[in-house]
Structure formats: structure tokens, C-alpha cells
Amino acid sequence: MGENLQLNSEGKLKHFLTIEGLSKPLLIEILDLAESFVNTTDQRIKKIPLLRGKSIVNLFFEDSTRTRSTFELAAKRLSADVLSLSIATSSTSKGESLLDTIRNLEAMYVDMFVVRHGISGAAHFIAQHTAPHVSVINAGDGQHAHPTQAMLDMFTIRQVKKDFSSLRVAVVGDILHSRVARSNIQALNTLGVAEVRVIAPKTLLPAQVESMGVTVSHSLAEGLQDIDVIIMLRLQKERMTSALLPSESEYFKCFGLTEERLKIAKPDAIVMHPGPINRGVEIDSKVADGPQSVILKQVSNGVAVRMAIMAMAMQQQGAS
């Protein structure tokens, strides 16, 4: 199941649930296709008719602004019909199960679900139980995966750095709770970077994190040496109340990315963040808005990358 679930019998993308189990050529294919769409989105007439007549439902069981709107835009630019539903708590509070929600929507002849859910494995579960002609795109499930974010991060890195093989990438912050971190680590390793380094206090690192193919540092000053790409992670407020950290200010003191600290990395290092940013908690405003930041570039690339993924997954539908 797991990783094979997202490929059809010919090894083509059917669902997009996790980076795990996807090959380097497939990831490159996504990046290349996204690149062709970047030109489209720059034009005044942005629509292409690839998914005309297809119905896509954005199912967001968790709040999101950025991811949801870029998915919506991506679908619209591919000429699909889009329905966006925020089901934060409404249907579950009515006692409707996740499966019932899916079945009901399926009955409306939907072709694709874009799902965000607070529980790890929710997208897999939906993909397993949905009708065979329906594709599922994971827009973030619990602490497990956020593969479209990872792909847009890879896209942004490639735009600036061209080649992955020599890169040393630091992922800084709350690795333990981060689906972005997990998907990014898997994507970076699949694409063959020289090193992925995670930088965090022990309380924010999952057990045996080295098993994911990373090196570990507990100090930002040490960890940033020789780094080409810095991926900062958002720090949730509830980490303080659950005794993982003493305070925001202490966190900023140890792990906040300041102009000073940025100098430790390579001079041409880029700074990334999946958003939304906590200014003054994990990153200083001067860095977030500074010349080395590509944070807004990530957002713009989000549309093209999601277009590519949706188009590829939907293509398999037409073929099968």
C-alpha cells in the first residue's frame, strides 16, 4: 500500500500523497512541467484548457490561506471547476465520518480531491477508499507529509541554485511536528543533495531522526556553516504550553534567524519559509524581507507546481 498507492500500474502518478517512494525522474518531471507553467502564469491570459470539464474539490479540514488559494488558482488556471470546502469542524461535529464526507462528494462526480487534514495518514485513508477514477492530492496531513510544499520548495531551490548535487541544506526549527520538514527531507535526499542538516533543540526533533538521512545539530551558529539553503520552519504557539520550549524569546535567542547568524552560512545562501511567518520568533523581519529571502518566490511558484502535479495525476485518469 503506502507508497505504491500513489502510482498506477505503469508507474505514473495517480495520487500525490507523499514524496516517499517517488523516484528522482518523477520528481524532475514535476519540476520540468511546473517550469513550463511558470511562463503561462506570467502571461496576461493565464488559463490553459488541460483540465477543462474536470471537477476538483478542495477539502480543507484544517485552516489554510496560502495552500488553499494556490490550489484553487492552480485548478482554475488549468480550466477545472473548483469547489473549496472548509470542513474545519462542521461535519465531524455533526458526527459524519471522514469516509461519509468523501462518499457524499464522490456522488457528485468529483474527479479529484485536494485534502488537508490534521491527522497523519488521512490522505492515504481517503486515497484507499475513494472511487478508482478519483485522484487524491495531499495538501498536508497531520505531521506526516506536505508533498506539494516540498515540490515547490525544490522548484524554488532549483530556480536559484540550478544543481542539487553540491547543496547543503539546513532545516531549522520544529522538525518533530513538521510535515513540511519530513517531505522536504525526503525530496532533498531523493534529488541527491550533498547534505540535509536538521537544526533544533532535542525537544523538537523526532526519535532517530538520523534514520531519515540527515545530520543533526543543536546549535544554529554551528549548524549554519557551509549551508547553501536554509529552510526555516514555523513555530506553533502551543509548543510553549506543552513544555517543549520555555519561551518564544528564548527560542529566538537560540534558533531565530538573524542577519548576524545568516552570515555564518555561505554568502549566497537563500532563506526559505513555508509560511505563515512568526516574525521575531523563528526569523527576524530583516532576514525575511532581505535580499537572500526567497519566501515570496516560494508562494508564486506554488501555483505552477500545483498545476503540474494536478495535471500529471489527472492525465493518468484520462489514460486509464
Partner: protein, 429 residues
């Protein structure tokens, strides 16, 4: 008088240090003689056990039959039928029924209902605390009088160590066994898988092995302080085995069991997000599994239980962390034990003892042996007979097993409960 002769079988009875070809003689509900033919014995019925093994009926120290309260998942009728087909003649029922077994009336109701609808003997475990809330002591003496063989915490936390200490002191005053599932609720942190490479990779809430070993170590200290006899249920970690080994060497009156699936599966076997693998305690690492097998082989772990937890389909239908933990496990108990023998992890005698003699010793009951005068609880099985886990063969109402579809060796052909056939494969086929 009904007289039954089971002949030509390989009679294995670890409690009586017996393993030889021969016969078992039964008169009414009791075992009359083993190997030696009683004078003038004329059987009413003869079972030919050629190429089969004949042993005491199995005693399962941890089951949930979902009655009372959750009969949508399973019933006494469905689960005792499954148990009978698995060679199990006695089952301990965990106290987390609905309502909880914390009062005489509930224990009596269960015994009564089980007798009416069930095939085998049900021994309720009383709740250690009222409603299993971990705050106040249950009426342990009344529970004992109503037929509870022990008191336990099921999977629920005890509020603090003072409550646990007092509960243990009180249980010890009435010579009640505590069946304790060690788990520090806070360290467990609502996890659903073992804390390690797997939980990290899939971003699943995790339970460190320390959640078990810390609770085990605390309870061992209190066992010494209070003199309470403790049986630890469903150990899952290597370090628990080490701690228990030390405690036994030191002379504490403690024992332990392990759920059969822990001896076969690890976190590496979990099909990602497949809720059939969602169990508590979670499937741990390879080294944990190896240590559990070794602990069973060297006697640190005394017995094997099924930790049977049948579920309805809905309970397992959802994203992994939101599904209910547990495996429907009665019917795979024997074949999985035999597989350990094939793998040379344990001897056949050890395996049978872990299902018969040892649990009887732990509960201090006259069962689990083919001793003349004991109830004729007997399991006859064909160790070579293959069968597949499928809807045709499966009897439990819960189909939640990670072994679904697999073919196993070892099939029970007859089960006798107090001299009565409660399962006869030759007829049911």
C-alpha cells in the same frame, strides 16, 4: 457416566512433565487418567488422535469479548465460539467493559451471561479502581467473592503512585493478584506507534519504550513495599524484560505475559497507515521482539496471551491515529505459537506451558494440566494441518487482524470443556 477415550495422540502436559504417545481417559467432566488405562474403563466415545497433539485447554490471560456494552463489536456467543475453535477453554476478561467490572453485580452478570451463551469458562478481572478512573479503590473483596480472579487497571492510568500503593496494599490484604499493564500515561502522550524510525518517518504520535519500563519499575518497587503479587500484562520492550529478570532474580513474586503478536511483528512490519497494525502497546523494534522471545524462552516472561480485542469495521476505518487499537487474536494464538517453535525461538514444551501450566499457576487455579481429578479441559490439534485466515474459517466477530489472508500451520480439531465437546472440527467441516 459419559466416558471419553482420546487415543493414539501425542500427549503433551508440561505441568506433569509429560510428552509421549498415549491416551487420555475422561469420566464425566473430569480427567480420570492419562496414559494408564483405568481398570474396567469402557468408553462411550473414542477420539482417534493419531498424528495429533493432545494438551490441556489453553488459558488466555487477556481478552475483551465486548460484552457487556459493546455487542456491536462482539458477543460472548461469537467470541467464545472463536475461542473454542482455537483450543482456548478459559479466558480472563479485562475489566474495561461497559459498565466497568467494579462491582459485584457486574461481575455476576458477566459470569451469568457467559454461562448462558458462551462455550468456555470466563474469568472476570475486577477493576482495581472505581470505574477504572484511577482515583478510588474498587470493592475488591466483593469482586473476589463474585468470582474475579484478579484485579487490574486494563489500559487505564492510575491517578498517582499513592493510589497505586494503596490499591496494591488492599489487594494484598485479600490475597488478590494484581494484573497490571504498565504504561505511563503522560509519557505515552496519546501515541499510537512505537517511538523510533517508523514514527519519525510517518509523523505519527509515538510512545517511547520508557513509558512502559518506567511504569514497570515503579510497580516493582511498590510490589516490594506492599507485598502485592503482581502479574504484568502485555510487555512490549526489551528493557522491560531486563528489569523483570532482575526483579525475579531478586526474589519478587512477579510474573508477566506477552501478547502473541509482539513475538512476530515489529514496527518494520507495519503497512503504512494500515489500522490492522494499530495495537497498544505498540509494535516495537526488532531488538525488542528478539528480547521478548528470549525472555519467554528463559522463563523471564511466563506466559503468552492473545490480548484479543475484536472490533467492528468502523472502529478500524479511519486515519491510523484515529482508529481503535487492538487485534482480534484468539484464532491465531496456537498457529503463531507453533510458528515460534518452528523458528526455534522456543521449544514446543515451552510454548504449550506458556498457554496452559503457566497461566494456571499465575491465577493459582486447578487448570492447565491433565492431572487426574482436574476438569477435562482439553485441546486436540493437528500441528501439520494448514488453514487460511479468511471469512470461511474465521469465527470471531472481529476481523481486525494483521494476519488476514495468511496461511498457518496448526489447526485445532477438538476442544473439550469439562468433558464436553465445545468444538469438533471434523463435524463443522
Amino acid at each position: 457416566m459419559a466416558r471419553i477415550l482420546i487415543e493414539n495422540g501425542r500427549v503433551i502436559d508440561p505441568a506433569n512433565k509429560l510428552d509421549r504417545l498415549g491416551s487420555v481417559y475422561i469420566a464425566d467432566d473430569k480427567i480420570l487418567s492419562v496414559i494408564y488405562k483405568p481398570n474396567g474403563f469402557v468408553p462411550d466415545e473414542v477420539i482417534d488422535a493419531r498424528n495429533k497433539m493432545v494438551c490441556p485447554g489453553f488459558i488466555d490471560l487477556s481478552t475483551r469479548l465486548r460484552e457487556p456494552g459493546q455487542s456491536r463489536k462482539a458477543t460472548f456467543a461469537s467470541e467464545t465460539a472463536a475461542a473454542a475453535a482455537a483450543g482456548i477453554t478459559t479466558m480472563c476478561l479485562q475489566p474495561d467493559t461497559v459498565p466497568v467490572i467494579d462491582a459485584r453485580a457486574v461481575a455476576e452478570l458477566i459470569k451469568d451471561q457467559a454461562e448462558k451463551t458462551g462455550y468456555n469458562q470466563i474469568l472476570p478481572i475486577g477493576a482495581l479502581t472505581q470505574k477504572l478512573e484511577g482515583n478510588e479503590l474498587s470493592a475488591m473483596l466483593a469482586l473476589k467473592d463474585a468470582g474475579c480472579v484478579a484485579v487490574g487497571n486494563a489500559n487505564r492510568p492510575i491517578k498517582n503512585l499513592l493510589v497505586l500503593r494503596r490499591a496494591m496494599e488492599y489487594a494484598a490484604s485479600h490475597d488478590l493478584l494484581l494484573i497490571y499493564r504498565p504504561n505511563d500515561h503522560w509519557l505515552g502522550n496519546n501515541g499510537c506507534v512505537h517511538e523510533g524510525a517508523f514514527s519519525t518517518r510517518y509523523g505519527l504520535p509515538s510512545i517511547p519504550d520508557a513509558a512502559e519500563t518506567i511504569a514497570l519499575a515503579q510497580c516493582l518497587e511498590l510490589a516490594e513495599l506492599t507485598g502485592c503479587r503482581v502479574h504484568f500484562g502485555q510487555l512490549s520492550s526489551r528493557r522491560s524484560v531486563i528489569r523483570l529478570h532482575q526483579a525475579k532474580k531478586y526474589g519478587l513474586r512477579v510474573s508477566a505475559d506477552v501478547a502473541i503478536h509482539q513475538l512476530h511483528l515489529t514496527e518494520d512490519d507495519i503497512v503504512p497507515f494500515d489500522s490492522a497494525f494499530h495495537v497498544l502497546p505498540p509494535l516495537r523494534s526488532k531488538s525488542d521482539k528478539a528480547a521478548l522471545c528470549e525472555g519467554l524462552a528463559n522463563g523471564t516472561i511466563d506466559s503468552i496471551c492473545s490480548d484479543h480485542q475484536p472490533h467492528d469495521l468502523d472502529a478500524k476505518l479511519g486515519a491510523f491515529p484515529e482508529t481503535e487499537p487492538g487485534v482480534s487474536a484468539l484464532e491465531t494464538l496456537l498457529p503463531l505459537m507453533l510458528k515460534l517453535v518452528t523458528q526455534k525461538a522456543i521449544t514446543l514444551e515451552q510454548g504449550i506451558a506458556a498457554l496452559t501450566q503457566k497461566p494456571a499457576q499465575i491465577l493459582n487455579i486447578d487448570l492447565g494440566a491433565l492431572t487426574p481429578g482436574f476438569n477435562a479441559d482439553i485441546c486436540i490439534f493437528d500441528p501439520e494441518q494448514e488453514w487460511q485466515v479468511n471469512s470461511y474459517n474465521w469465527r470471531s466477530q472481529g476481523v481486525n487482524t494483521p494476519f488476514w489472508g495468511q496461511t498457518f500451520k496448526g489447526k485445532v480439531t477438538h476442544t473439550l470443556q469439562a468433558g464436553k465437546f465445545i468444538y469438533n472440527w471434523t463435524i463443522s467441516v
